[in-house]
Symmetry: C2
Subunit: 494 residues, 2 copies
């Protein structure tokens, strides 16, 4: 199976086209994704980005590639002390009373890990931190200076974009033209040591109140933002690797600068495929912390938000994200989530039905399962098109419902293939999970409610309607609704 | 409450005595604990150590201290490539096919975090990695050389224990005498660059096949093991902090060397209180990977072991550990775990009963709750004596069972104090959790069973014993037992 489906196409932001994927080393994939900055809670938009690359990681692994997936943690912060305390004894003694950036880092790294765990994203193969690679960054900066592209001014080091552009193309990724950039950049006289406003920092000399700083050949300071990703991706994936990913907001300047650095240091664009996940908007508008148009993951999952009618489970939100292609803008709204919840529950119901199905003894099937499987792979091979994959899955759901209603049949062989493929795309490739309410764990609750319903049915049979109504009201009060039919009663939990 | 109980005593390994605890900075505590080496799954013995310090962290926080708890990750590994591949292009291209130490680090760091999460250990305030602090370590090594205690030989740097011992006491912690050490150390001629076999490495020059290495003033190499903890504890806690902890196997040489380094660099013993958690043995013998006398955390919790009759939940194992004092050797066996499981369930049953108790309207109590609370604090203030605390808790359990049996009474005020103190010691300080079957998450289940019990009590009042028996039998069949008393009924879930 897996050998025939290796005609994967990936949209490459450099060429602006879908390209047949071919890895640098057979059967191996090296993938680097720009990870979170851990100075605040992870945004929902970031979560969408990491989910997109989780699916890519899962699908490549599913195809049989050995993937080394590196996703960094940006923990070099720019926190400052209120006052310059120097190195005197008192300040050292009082260290415990001061803000410690690494305490902030730990808090939000932990929060990030908790959130991605709940979202069932797989841990990357390596999760390097920027502060853990200062020496590697210093080494690259030295190299860029040696190559005549980096220059030092007052303890800081900058990348000379114009010098670089003489023999390279600054703008290869973002399609920006350096001439245009010049005209569009206001000159801020005297505010900078840079030769040109387009130059970017490789190393910054720290002001005295800056807390996080390290020794370097140029000053006690800290690395520029772009150099960390070049250092870490090169260290773990080599001079040229397969996929470099990130949110679309990182395309310029961050990824453009990474490509420039990599060309100076290694003579490559770092990665062969540059992949960008698109934005998440909220009710049609950009999310923004400063306006009220903002929502945090935990608000959706547990604490609630004035913008939503209810909370939604993690798998529901993940399913909602996968209903859009990763390169499309995705708009989150209460209605969209409610629709996704319905859709997701339909799929899980169908999978549960399939698991419980006993009547697959037919010789033939009313559904071309092999063609359907090919359709699933075709969708994913077309630049990881999850919405098309999900449309395919709904085709199968329709068919499963027909089997259950007795209006369609399936052979044992097809039953097996259908079950396995549903499971592997829904749970392994998309990484969805049955939600708590739909999960087996709550067996005990089911048992006990069944007992109450039996007692209530007895009461109805005995025409003891005051008792049967009392039971219904007691359950209602606890958020459990009874749905009576002619034959029996079922229940739903709010 | 909390102000009167601040007469905490901690056993200090330096003095060999329990000492009144007094922190360097009022209301703050700085605590450093040597964390895991992430090149294999966490041992059960390590887990005991981290559990011991989790309780100390929790109790100090409970007393009102603002604790900065630093627990490091030792990720500097000594993995080697099979062959020396140099820096040629082919090896760089082939990087993906090689063993990458940071991939190993990520795997076992993730495993460690999953295990401590299941064990309900709180995340430390800062979790620094050794590789993230190479520059800090180099800085300290320079200082030790400048002070005339460190010396370089062939690109490696060693700590001169004899030179140090002239004006300091090498052995202050482990009570070893340098003269004895000399006589007990075989001299390995020609195998070492060290002046004396007792000297320890601060920096080691890497052999070509060594994978993890960094630039330094002396060689491309890697730091010695002891210097990492001195660098990280000093960076986040200052020149002198409150508590330095670790497993007892780290007392010598690791902690002895840390004290020596700290004396040279900062003129202090690093911490005022050096605290050591004792060993965990298995069936009376030391655990060992090479013999079969070994058990991994996951084998106890989920996969099973030939040495155990069944699996045990994480809270049960944690409770088992807390039944011994952290400074005593603790022996794990099937019988001991079975006994702990019974004991732990008794406590949780009592807490559940307490929660459901409605008849606390008595004017007086048959139990001196205030004296009992003092006993709980006295136990913990006596060097965190959890077994005595647990004995106290069992006293309360006995009393709660008497209330339930109708043979003891409690006033509303005492009921409140008893409930709050039980919860805070069992859940907050010891960090135990109701296991899944007994959990609060199952509120819905409680609600529904309460409805059934109410229906059944109605039946009993109406002398409809066939219905009340039928309900009892239905519940029994589903593993729920009803316990009737004169006034009302309670239930337990198998």
């Amino acid at each position: 199976m897996q050998s025939v489906v290796k005609n994967l196409k990936i949209y490459n932001s450099i060429s602006g086209k879908k390209e047949i994927f071919s890895s640098v080393i057979d059967n191996h994939v090296g993938m680097y994704v720009c990870g979170p900055t851990v100075y605040s809670n992870v945004h929902l938009g970031n979560l969408r980005t990491f989910t997109s690359f989780d699916i890519i990681y899962r699908y490549l692994t599913h195809l049989g590639y050995k993937v080394r997936y590196v996703r960094n943690i940006t923990d070099v912060g720019h926190l400052e002390n209120d006052e310059d305390q120097g190195e005197d004894r008192i300040s050292k003694k009082a260290r415990l009373e001061n803000l410690e950036p690494m305490e902030v880092v730990q808090k939000y790294t932990y929060d990030f890990h908790e959130t991605v765990r709940k979202f069932n994203l797989l841990p990357p193969s390596i999760e390097p931190t920027a502060t853990g690679h200062i020496l590697d960054q210093i080494k690259l900066i030295k190299k860029i200076i040696d190559e005549g592209i980096g220059y030092e001014v007052n303890g800081s080091v900058y990348f000379d974009v114009f010098e670089y552009n003489k023999s390279n193309n600054y703008g290869i990724l973002s399609k920006r033209n350096l001439e245009d950039l010049i005209h569009n950049t206001r000159s801020l006289d005297g505010q900078s040591d840079k030769k040109n406003p387009q130059d970017f920092a490789l190393w910054k000399k720290a002001e005295p109140k800056h807390i996080m700083k390290w020794d370097s050949p140029w000053s006690e300071g800290f690395p520029g933002w772009h150099i960390e990703c070049t250092a870490m991706s090169n260290k773990y994936l080599g001079d040229i690797f397969d996929i470099h990913g990130g949110g679309i907001d990182l395309k310029f300047p961050h990824h453009e600068c990474e490509i420039a650095q990599s060309n100076v240091c290694f003579g490559t664009n770092a990665a062969n495929y540059w992949v960008h996940a698109n934005m998440l908007t909220l009710n049609g508008q950009k999310m923004s912390k400063s306006t009220e148009n903002n929502i945090l993951p935990d608000e959706i999952f547990s604490s609630g938000s004035p913008l939503l009618s209810k909370t939604f489970s993690e798998p529901t939100v993940k399913f909602f994200m996968l209903q859009a292609h990763y390169r499309s803008i995705l708009d989150l709204s209460d209605n969209a989530l409610l629709a996704s919840e319905k859709g997701f529950n339909k799929i899980i119901d169908a999978i549960n039905m399939l698991e419980n199905l006993k009547s697959y003894s037919d010789k033939t099937s009313d559904f071309d399962v092999e063609k359907w499987i090919k359709g699933c792979y075709d969708a994913m091979n077309d630049d990881f098109n999850t919405p098309i994959l999900i449309a395919n899955i709904f085709e199968a759901v329709k068919f499963i419902n027909k089997i259950k209603a007795g209006s369609a049949k399936i052979s044992e062989k097809d039953y097996k293939m259908l079950s396995e493929t549903m499971d592997s795309f829904v749970f392994d490739v998309m990484g969805l999970k049955k939600t708590n309410a739909l999960q087996k764990g709550n067996d005990k609750l089911d048992d006990v409610i069944d007992i109450i319903l039996e007692l209530r049915n007895d009461a109805r049979k005995n025409k003891d309607f005051s008792l049967s109504d009392k039971i219904r009201d007691m359950l209602n009060k606890k958020g459990i609704s009874i749905n009576d039919s002619d034959k029996n009663s079922s229940y739903t939990i709010d």
